[in-house]
């Protein structure tokens, strides 16, 4: 059973999940959201869907002990967004974090994921498409503290720039205090290739649809991830609408 929350109904959420597998779908439809969670020995998927088109200020604080958490944030909104996330991972837990941003306004995002004890794992995957007038500052830090032996911290960020964005600053950071670990970070950034656009056009796909196709390839929600959600269709239609409203 999925748990569904709307921050317009309650913008401070404190979630304790122990020994339970569940999906949390959090619609960010109010200007502020203050979310803390404590997840122990559970298999949990958390989905943040930004619905407000004006302004979002999200503070997220998470503790994960044991189990596996997959955290996905989809921001295909026209909102100015401010996000501060601090997630601490304990006791052999695994965190997979997937964030997707379509940037046409100001996005200021800080993510800190910290391996607190040994044998913990963090994998972060950020994708951003930055269009005309878009402004993004994304600082993503993976930290492994001393004695968190055999921990893993990987992160990759990729961005696609099209048009004339105001500002693009994406910083992957690794802070490693322990030597017996596995860690990496990767960043790629590129523009839409004119030859790729031509290729798509040459098959009858006009410029707007071609751009949508290319942007969608960056921001597409992995259907495997949401296949079991009751909210699957709703989430897909929100993402589709976000794409259509922002492109063309």
């Amino acid at each position: 059973m999925d748990r569904i929350y709307h921050t317009s109904e309650k913008n401070e959420l404190k979630l304790d999940i122990y020994n339970k597998d569940t999906n949390l779908i959090i619609y960010l439809d109010d200007e502020t959201a203050d979310i803390t969670y404590d997840i122990k020995d559970s298999e949990v998927k958390i989905f943040y869907i930004i619905l407000n088109d004006q302004f979002i200020d999200l503070k997220e604080e998470g503790h994960i002990s044991g189990g596996h958490v997959t955290s996905c944030l989809f921001d295909l909104s026209k909102a100015d967004v401010h996000i501060k996330s601090v997630i601490k991972v304990f006791d052999g837990a695994k965190l997979d974090m997937i964030n997707k941003y379509l940037v046409t306004k100001d996005k200021d995002i800080t993510i800190d994921c910290i391996n607190m004890t040994k044998d913990t794992e963090v994998n972060i995957d950020n994708s951003a498409v930055i269009l005309d007038d878009g402004h993004i500052e994304l600082t993503c830090t993976g930290k492994i503290i001393k004695d968190a032996k055999r921990s893993i911290s990987h992160q990759k960020s990729r961005s696609l720039v099209y048009g004339d964005p105001k500002h693009v600053d994406i910083r992957p950071i690794l802070l490693i205090e322990e030597s017996d670990v596995e860690a990496s970070h990767a960043l790629s950034s590129g523009t839409i290739d004119d030859d790729v656009l031509y290729y798509l056009n040459s098959r009858g796909i006009d410029k707007v649809d071609a751009l949508r196709l290319l942007i969608d390839s960056y921001l597409k929600c992995d259907e495997e991830l949401i296949k079991d959600l009751e909210e699957k269709d709703n989430i897909l239609s929100i993402l589709q609408r976000g794409l259509e409203e922002n492109v063309g």
Partner: protein, 272 residues
């Protein structure tokens, strides 16, 4: 009305350098035109110009398809009226699956989107015909494909999109002997089915011996210098182009090779 592509006195420049110097050509539906000539003399330029690549600037002349001014159309409009270019170096588009790509291309030509059932039936039938891998629909467009797979994928797109005039630029390069036969047979089958007109650039007689062009044109230094039929293709295959240069007192343009230079090394082995 029969589908006809008419090219008249076409002059094309790239980076202020004239590549095509007055090409005229008429291609009707059902005809197969072989476009031959040494490398770097204008064959691909002609095809890319017809399709509308922005790099190629038409300085003079006209292209009409069924009395519609092709040069006034955007690239996607040209495709929608029925022109298709199977490219020599197809683009790799990581992240976009073949099925999403082809669905978008099909739907661009339709009022209402194609049903999933009809789409997969069409796609899978052609994938089997071209003996491509079953997972093609879910793979990213040309991403990690071998040279041969890319060329087959171009033909797959042609078969699914059913153009009226298909231009195939060295579509046989990168294919092994069996694949050349398979691809050529598939092109012929599609041509018969749709009464498609074809303009084919190839350097291989093996390919033309299956396709059997009804017309042949040789481009040298941006001009069509001789025209004929399948016999001309066979003569060029056996004798090359030298007899033409001597007979017509012409010289081919020598293909300019890009300059290769070192940017230097980024690391030195301290032990060396």
């Amino acid at each position: 009305m029969a589908n006809t592509l008419k090219i008249k006195d076409l002059h094309v420049s790239v980076d202020d350098k004239e590549i095509l110097k007055g090409v005229s050509l008429i291609v009707n539906e059902g005809e197969v035109h072989a476009l031959m000539g040494p490398n770097g003399n204008g064959k691909s330029t002609l095809l890319q110009t017809i399709m509308g690549h922005p790099k190629y600037i038409v300085t003079k002349g006209s292209i009409y398809f069924n009395d519609q001014d092709v040069l006034a159309m955007t690239v996607d409009q040209r495709a929608k009226v029925g022109l298709f270019l199977g490219m020599q170096n197809p683009q790799e588009i990581s992240g976009v699956t073949n099925s999403d790509f082809l669905k978008a291309a099909i739907n661009a030509r339709r009022e209402t989107p194609i049903s999933l059932f009809a789409f997969y039936k069409e796609m899978e039938g052609n994938i089997k015909k071209l003996k491509m891998k079953d997972d093609l629909a879910h793979r990213f467009v040309n991403d990690g494909f071998s040279g041969g797979e890319k060329k087959r994928n171009e033909i797959l797109q042609m078969m699914v999109l059913k153009p009226k005039i298909a231009m195939l630029d060295e579509i046989d390069s990168g294919l092994d002997v069996d694949a050349i036969k398979l691809v050529a047979d598939s092109i012929l089958e599609a041509k018969e089915k749709e009464n498609m007109g074809l303009i084919i650039v190839s350097h291989y007689d093996r390919f033309f011996s299956i396709i059997k062009p009804t017309h042949a044109h040789v481009i040298v230094d941006g001009k069509i210098v001789v025209e004929g039929d399948n016999e001309l293709v066979e003569k060029i295959d056996s004798d090359g182009y030298d007899w033409l240069y001597q007979e017509l007192q012409i010289h081919p343009r020598v293909e300019e090779k890009p300059l290769v230079f070192s940017l230097g090394t980024c690391a030195l082995n301290p032990r060396s």
